[in-house]
């Protein structure tokens, strides 16, 4: 077991890769009452085309199947897994993103028992024609719920504008039509391709003894018979050159328009370290331009173009990357124009050195806050780890940034790039 201590943060992460390939991370947090564990596979909604290892066949599966599989893992031949957790009072859950599926629990007692339950249920698929059919009604309502949600609609509208047919633009839960096609056979194909321990991580945080936790996990994994698998082959359609569609519009029964807009990232850096640095640099310029203390942010509000909810974010992986800006706006098109002009002006002129220093300090503070949340640090650490990054080195990366790096990254992202815009309008009164 390796112990990696982050001196400045006063935190130590213990890690070991087991014989079957499972990567285990343990972060002791003395004083906390809860233990939080997350068991994650590098498999999400975008992984819809791949080779099934057992028969070497390349298949394309229905949209939304990773999320469907997540739901179905909670059912075992003996019954509902929630019951096992409920016996100890633990709370269990799961979530699916574009590139990961995570199963988790948090508990204040019987950690060993709960950890065993977590490992065992995720490593024991049980799908039947009947239980697959039953889930379609439940997930159908989950999809309906999101259909009425303006934030979700405008977000996926933007992703469609940015990516077209590339799977990141497809709703994580799929559609009523796509989930109708899901069968237990396809679920097993997905399961056996992506749920091998060598494609997974386990992160445990809380007032735990790292040695004891690791022993338990090791014994549990040794007792299971896993054969080594060749590397997973995943296939993605090509990214469109530039954006797919400039404007995506939609109507919902809401009080005022909601708008999101953004650019695709042209520079998909080859190494995780380079991506981490780019992400940190973007975080800084976004805060300088649109953070609450920016005069531009306040002016957008004072000019009646948006409200305090206006924000921006950035995502970058080894496959794709994009920025997103926006919020509520009575004049969405004017807001887009104003922000776009501003981005060009600042990209040309460079950010203010004082703003740069302030944003760096703010980023440090926000990172420290993350360390006080067991769930927060576990989830961020894991998602970054699966992208090849160590989030606990964020402070060093931030310190190493200089203003030229940030200006260059901003210019690169904005100049000569076309923007996609997504608007959800209030429905015409009928």
């Amino acid at each position: 077991m390796k112990a990696k201590t982050y001196e400045r943060l006063h935190e130590t992460v213990y890690e070991e890769t087991l014989a079957n390939g499972l990567q285990v991370f343990i972060l002791p947090k003395p004083g906390f009452k809860q233990t939080y564990a997350n068991f994650t596979t590098r498999y999400g909604s975008i992984d819809s085309e791949f080779t099934v290892p057992s028969r070497g066949e390349r298949i394309k599966v229905p949209d939304g199947i990773a999320h469907f599989l997540e739901h179905k893992m909670f059912e075992e031949e003996e019954g509902d897994v929630f019951v096992e957790f409920a016996k100890t009072g633990a709370s269990a859950n799961a979530f699916t993103t574009f590139d990961t599926t995570t199963y988790l629990f948090s508990s204040t007692a019987d950690v060993e028992e709960n950890l065993t339950t977590l490992l065992n249920f995720v490593q024991n698929p049980y799908f039947t024609d009947e239980n697959v059919e039953k889930e379609k009604g439940i997930i159908g309502q989950e999809i309906k719920m999101y259909e009425d949600n303006p934030n979700w609609r405008v977000y996926f509208g933007l992703l469609q504008g940015l990516y077209g047919q590339f799977p990141v633009a497809i709703d994580i839960a799929g559609t009523q039509e796509s989930i109708a096609k899901i069968t237990k056979e396809t679920l097993y194909d997905c399961y056996y391709t992506f749920y091998h321990p060598s494609n997974m991580t386990l992160f445990v945080v809380g007032a735990v003894d790292p040695k004891a936790i690791l022993e338990l996990v090791k014994a549990n994994q040794l007792a299971k018979d896993y054969q080594a698998l060749p590397p997973i082959e995943r296939f993605y359609p090509p990214l469109p050159d530039g954006i797919y569609r400039a404007e995506t519009e939609y109507e919902l029964d809401i009080s005022q328009p909601r708008v999101l807009f953004g650019y695709r990232e042209k520079n998909i850096d080859a190494t995780p370290a380079a991506r981490q640095k780019r992400e940190a640099a973007v975080e800084i310029w976004m805060d300088c331009l649109f953070g609450r203390s920016s005069k531009h942010y306040q002016k957008l509000i004072d000019d009646g173009l948006t409200d305090h909810g206006f924000g921006s974010e950035y995502e970058l992986t080894h496959l794709y990357g994009h920025s997103i800006f926006g919020g509520n706006s009575k004049k969405p098109k004017e807001l887009v124009d104003t922000v776009q002009k501003l981005l060009h002006t600042i990209a040309d002129r460079g950010i203010d050195p004082e703003d740069f220093e302030r944003s760096k300090k703010k980023a440090i503070g926000r990172f420290m806050a993350l360390l006080d949340s067991p769930q927060g640090i576990a989830n961020v650490f894991t998602s970054q780890k699966l992208r090849g990054l160590d989030v606990l080195t964020s402070l060093d990366v931030l310190q190493s940034l200089d203003i030229e790096d940030v200006n260059e990254v901003l210019k690169d992202h904005v100049m000569g790039n076309e923007m996609a815009v997504s608007i959800v309008w209030p429905q015409q009164a009928k």
Binding site: L9, F82, A86, G89, I139, N149, M368
Partner: protein, 441 residues
């Protein structure tokens, strides 16, 4: 780690509560002023935190004020209005990294508290009242904030239930106030409300983190002491059970409210009233009742509406403890309204009849204890419990709640169940006969 709260006073108005603990890297600050929830004050109080965040005497420009916070490692300041039972509170929060984890950041906490105190007590003024431009701008934004509530249909349906069930009582007043009351909010009117609040309400400040108590006391005495008014006399809000008053007002008959909008999913909510609430001896049994009914994935609503019938993705219940009200919520296909309603009603009936398994009872008690223990990992839990103790006159700590829940028996839960009446069925549905409905017919 057995940390305990230390309480101190600053002048006549400020109560300082400190919890020193090495568990966190951040120092978290929560401060709260309170008022009775009154229709003619609600909108102004809701607007007040927004206007206070516009500027202070030292930093009259909004941007400059927020920059001052950002310079302190992004000290995250927040100000909001809230509603707890029949009280409206103005709450301020701040989180700042403990300076020991940073290099050359001495005085960080003191600087942050100085700004924090100024936001509450030393706002920017013009001609002795709030600046007209600030108030006007925030009035426009607040109108939008209220109108935007309809955009989140789950939250909207929940809020409509509260309004329908508590018409004519304080708890029925909207947390954010009313758009139609905004035109009357002038700089003078708002400033008067602000002064009345400061003249009547104590300020309770809670500070949690790896701090030195003595240093916190000294810093806060200095930063808040300069604003203290010797004449201050707290206007104590009556602690008579507002839940009892509500129960007397209720006519105990069930109403059905159907609202139509352009939605693709129907929201079926049910409003229930209990004879128990936070200040009563049988409150722990009410908490367990809510847990068995709809607080967990093993609960009756989740199992019967979702798992057995596949009618919904979410089906749960929520307890408004201070008022003794429960709200069931679910998202369903339009055509399943009757079916889902019947299943929900059946669960209520089963609980009245005592059809509660040992597993349901035990899992719920364990789940609740787990939640209480976990709440101890959040810095503001103690603050909320102390606030509720003041509001109800009933002291409940995390430890005591756990002890009380442990002792609850099935008979206790059934007794609570028999006092529960269903007063509202609320359904938010689409405007026309929907596609899926016509297919089913």
């Amino acid at each position: 780690m057995n940390s305990t709260w230390i309480t101190d006073r600053i002048g006549k108005q400020v109560y300082l509560h400190i919890l020193a603990t090495e568990k966190y890297k951040m120092v978290s600050v929560f401060a709260q002023l309170e008022s009775e929830l009154l229709r003619d004050r609600a909108t102004k109080l809701a607007l007040l935190p927004q206007v206070l965040m516009r500027g202070t005497k030292r930093y009259p420009e909004t941007t400059a004020l927020i920059r001052a916070f950002d310079d302190l490692y992004g000290a995250a300041i927040g100000a909001r209005v809230n509603k707890h039972g029949d009280r409206q509170t103005v709450e301020f929060t701040m989180q700042v990294p403990h300076e020991g984890y940073l290099t050359s950041a001495e005085g960080l906490f003191a600087s942050a508290m100085q700004l924090f105190a100024e936001v509450i007590f030393d706002p920017k003024t013009e001609d002795g009242v709030f600046a007209k431009s600030d108030v006007d701008a925030e009035v426009v934004l607040h109108a939008q904030r209220i109108e935007n509530l309809v955009n989140d249909k789950i939250a909207y349906a929940g809020e409509r239930c509260v309004q329908e069930m508590c018409q004519g009582e304080p708890f029925g007043i909207a947390r954010l106030g009313y758009v139609e009351d905004l035109p009357a909010v002038t700089p003078t009117a708002l400033y008067t409300t602000y002064q009345e609040l400061l003249e009547s309400s104590a300020l309770h400040i809670y500070i949690v983190g790896p701090v030195d108590e003595q240093m916190v006391k000294e810093t806060c005495s200095r930063e808040f002491g300069r604003f203290m008014n010797d004449q201050f006399a707290e206007h104590l809000i009556t602690t008579v059970s507002s839940a009892d008053l509500s129960r007397q007002m209720s006519d105990k008959t069930e109403r059905v409210v159907i609202e139509e909008m352009e939605v693709s999913q129907g929201k079926l909510n049910v409003g229930l009233r209990a004879q128990s609430s936070y200040e009563k001896d049988d409150y722990p049994a009410l908490v367990v009742y809510n847990g068995i009914l709809g607080g967990f994935p093993h609960s009756k609503l989740f199992i019967n509406v979702r798992e057995k019938s596949s009618l919904a993705y979410y089906a749960s219940s929520r307890l408004e403890g201070l008022k003794g009200l429960l709200f069931i919520q679910s998202g369903i296909q339009m055509s399943n309204f009757e079916r889902a309603k019947d299943i929900i009603k059946q669960q209520l009936e089963d609980m009245r009849k005592g059809l509660i398994t040992d597993d349901e009872l035990n899992f719920t008690k364990k789940g609740l204890i787990n939640q209480y223990l976990q709440s101890d990992d959040q810095p503001f839990t103690g603050a909320v419990l102390q606030m509720y103790s003041r509001f109800t006159g009933r002291e409940r700590s995390v430890t005591q709640l756990i002890e009380d829940v442990r002792k609850v028996t099935k008979e206790d839960v059934v007794a609570v169940a028999q006092g529960i009446t269903s007063e509202l069925v609320y359904f938010l549905r689409d405007k026309e006969v929907s596609q899926d409905e016509s297919q089913d017919l």
